[in-house]
């Protein structure tokens, strides 16, 4: 399973991008469950000025989400991939 996070927006406006392949990883099971859960969209919201927006893509499926209303699986997955306190 390929998992990708693309971040845009934020006060800085500086984008970020990270991806991983779960093949062969010891935590693949955890990641698969997390990714599936993250694909469930949160509530729609108006754009938050300076909030980060994220596109999470799991294989061919993409969900869009944005701060501050990320679901817990989305938050955890983003933190795991971007490794910078998302």
């Amino acid at each position: 399973m390929r998992i990708e996070v693309v971040r845009s927006g934020g006060f800085s406006g500086i984008p970020a991008h990270a991806a991983l392949d779960t093949a062969g990883r010891p935590d693949a099971g955890h990641l698969h469950a997390l990714a599936e859960a993250a694909l469930a969209p949160g509530p729609p919201q108006a754009p938050t000025p300076d909030g980060y927006s994220y596109d999470i893509t799991v294989d061919a499926r993409t969900v869009h989400c944005a701060d501050p209303q990320l679901t817990h699986p989305q938050r955890e997955l983003i933190r795991l991939l971007l490794d910078e306190g998302a």
């Binding site: 406006g13 984008p15 970020a16 392949d21 779960t22 108006a46 938050t48 000025p49 969900v63």
Partner: protein
């Protein structure tokens, strides 16, 4: 571990956005956001009513809002629950936590600048309490306005330091609140870039007011002191010279354009709101530099009149905003150096004011008291 994490330049992301399902997802996202935005606007209209920026003549009656801020700082304790635990209220002695005190002081500086320079009581003009949360999440590289309060991350220490450090960042976020309660510019495309630019303009003016600087003395930087040691850059944005704030192996080069010839069309970041804001940012700098003296006094007053005067559509484009600033300059100072400086500034960044799009609904002289 199979993880690769890079910060990539926007043109690479654009290529990503154009590939595969991204177009479809972007379309769905726009639809969702548009619907949510409409709901927000309807709610706001019922809250603030049709008369934006209510007139408050000189000599505020006793029943008016207080001339002092009402601040509350919370500690989010590295979680995502807002606002978190109350750690400092108005009038309380300083905390041992530097982030708490910087947020408190920055809210105060912002309140004071809006009051003294423009006669505005807080972000809504009616004394709205100012709420901020610090230590949002862990190593979080951002600060934002969530429609009700300010939120600050600590930064990861590698790229960004604590977001409470630069007072212009605090002023920038609170100005998103001012915009929400006045022109309520749509956070998308050119109106979104104007929303961002207005926050940079007043964020910088709050810093300049605090330091007592003239337009010539000011650095015109946004986020100076926010980049971690070792990052090649002096700030996140330069209003004077967009595109020159940083040039770093990890961050890439500051991609902001300073004129319409460099306007960026993109689906990312709500249509490039943090990119194209460089164009109106530079227009403000050019106007302020030409007028001279303290930028918050005349150039700032013209932009403030434009933002709060009621003539702007929520979907105002650069040309509409430009026309409104020229009209505001003329309404307040007559045909003269100020209106010519403003018109020339927009011309220099390649924006032609839209004809007949800006007629002030109020006489600006009725709106504010002079400091």
């Amino acid at each position: 571990m199979g993880v690769f994490c890079t910060i990539v330049p926007p043109h690479v992301l654009d290529a990503l956005a154009r590939s595969g399902d991204a177009t479809l997802s972007a379309y769905a996202r726009r639809t969702l956001e548009h619907d949510a935005r409409e709901r927000t606007r309807r709610r706001l209209t019922t809250v603030i009513g049709p008369t934006l920026a209510a007139a408050r003549p000189t000599g505020v009656p006793a029943a008016g809002p207080s001339d002092g801020p009402r601040r509350t700082i919370h500690d989010a304790a590295h979680l995502d629950t807002l606002p978190g635990t109350t750690v400092r209220e108005e009038g309380a002695k300083p905390s041992k936590d530097g982030s708490v005190n910087r947020a408190y002081d920055g809210l105060g500086a912002t309140f004071e600048t809006y009051l003294k320079a423009y006669g505005r009581h807080s972000v809504d003009g009616k004394g709205l309490p100012l709420v901020a949360s610090v230590h949002y999440l862990k190593d979080y590289n951002n600060a934002f306005w969530n429609g009700e309060q300010m939120v600050f991350g600590d930064g990861d220490g590698r790229i960004f330091l604590d977001f409470t450090l630069p007072v212009d960042v605090i002023g920038h976020e609170l100005t998103h609140g001012v915009t929400q309660y006045s022109a309520n510019l749509d956070y998308f495309g050119q109106s979104g870039a104007l929303n961002e630019s207005v926050s940079d303009v007043f964020g910088s003016l709050i810093k300049q007011y605090s330091l007592g600087q003239t337009a010539e003395q000011a650095d015109w930087l946004i986020g100076a002191g926010l980049l971690a040691p070792g990052v090649h850059g002096e700030a996140l944005r330069s209003m004077k010279a967009p595109g020159t704030a940083y040039d770093d192996p990890n961050l890439g080069k500051d991609p902001q354009p300073g004129s319409m010839s460099g306007y960026v069309s993109t689906s990312e970041d709500n249509g490039g709101v943090h990119l194209n804001s460089g164009i109106p940012n530079r227009a403000f700098y050019l106007a302020a530099a030409a007028i001279g003296g303290h930028a918050w006094e005349q150039a700032g007053q013209i932009w403030y009149d434009t933002l709060t005067g009621g003539s702007l559509s929520t979907r105002a484009q650069f040309a509409d905003f430009a026309a409104a600033t020229v009209a505001a300059a003329t309404a307040r100072y007559g045909e003269g150096d100020q209106s010519r400086a403003v018109a020339s500034a927009w011309q220099q960044v390649g924006v032609t004011p839209a004809p007949g799009s800006a007629v002030p609904r109020q006489q600006p002289g009725e709106q504010t008291q002079e400091a």
